[in-house]
Symmetry: C2
Subunit: 233 residues, 2 copies
Amino acid sequence: MCPGNENARRRMRPAVVLLSGGLDSATTLALARAGGFDVFALSVNYGQRHGAELLAASRVAGVLGAREHRVMRVDLAGIGGSALTDPALAVPETPSTGIPITYVPARNTMMLALALGWAEVIGARDIFIGVNAVDFSGYPDCRPEFIAAFEDLARLATKAGVEGERFEIHAPLLKMSKAEIVRTGLGLGVDYSMTVSCYQASEDGRACGRCDSCRLRAAGFAAAGVADPTRYM
Amino acid sequence: MCPGNENARRRMRPAVVLLSGGLDSATTLALARAGGFDVFALSVNYGQRHGAELLAASRVAGVLGAREHRVMRVDLAGIGGSALTDPALAVPETPSTGIPITYVPARNTMMLALALGWAEVIGARDIFIGVNAVDFSGYPDCRPEFIAAFEDLARLATKAGVEGERFEIHAPLLKMSKAEIVRTGLGLGVDYSMTVSCYQASEDGRACGRCDSCRLRAAGFAAAGVADPTRYM
């Protein structure tokens, strides 16, 4: 990187961006960069079924200009209870009612806690998470009231908070439809062919086209009126 | 275990108890058992300096009658920022003012998030944590307002919460002095020689006698008027 870029970065505010490697978190990272933040991307390997997501996260972080990308490992598979972490539970391929079996208990609480810890260490007061409460799977920890409660908790949980500073949890996709998310990302130059949203992608990142996450994603491209760049199996 | 015990356990409410292997969490586990809970003990290996704590946790869980003991690994050492997880930072051996360097950013938030996830999977609505806001190191995430905020968050973060159930975060030591904690534990038959509180214990569990945690612990035995069973280096 040339010295001019380094100087520009020093004037930017740091932010931790949770990055799964899917469509939503890639768009969130692009929005954080567009908002002038110096991005520290954090991926959490919590025992997901496949590593293609984490590879996608690494590519997205590099291409979209994150300063740093870390992968932290948390062994959620040890507690089971979700089709995303327990190989004994099948990922559903038809729409379900209620909160689906792909819900990972307390996942966003844990990921935001890790982001908060890293933010405190690097002096960031801004955390971005790509949750969405419109075209979403009905997970409780994707709702605005959850995000607001975590912001309150962050103030009480940290040394920085005790010293009077506030953490802001940015959830810029919260009220967007999937089509709006796609259009926003395309406007910022996100190449969605790099991203992997599928719950059961192959190791080389090809999507099943049948799970909840694939269906929501494909519907988003269709509603946005753009070609779906997803590589399917 | 004899069948009679198994039947009795089936009638008991399950609870997740965070167990570090130190004096406070051992007392908390004993209190949970005395309160009639079926205990699922959770230790979090977050890159602490030594493994003696986790060995102590395993002994304590067994002796005090936890039904199960799990150790989950989270790589907090990767983010640094604390003398407990970063080998480049020394553990202080004289009292400090303010929040000390042994503070691990967002540690209790992360540990409670993991406890919450496991609780949801096993159907427990009760979580125990041995935080204390009297004879303590001044960590922000050991205060009553933090515990209350996490309880609010738990309701919003989970499927069970959405379905109208409440999680209770029990912090029975919150307002006890160290001497009261020691007396309570001794009354419940806790053998404190099994526990390791030292921030820089040797691999065989001997304590330095000089760090903040050792000083608070020794003062607690002295104030309670009982012999200190700690094995020092």
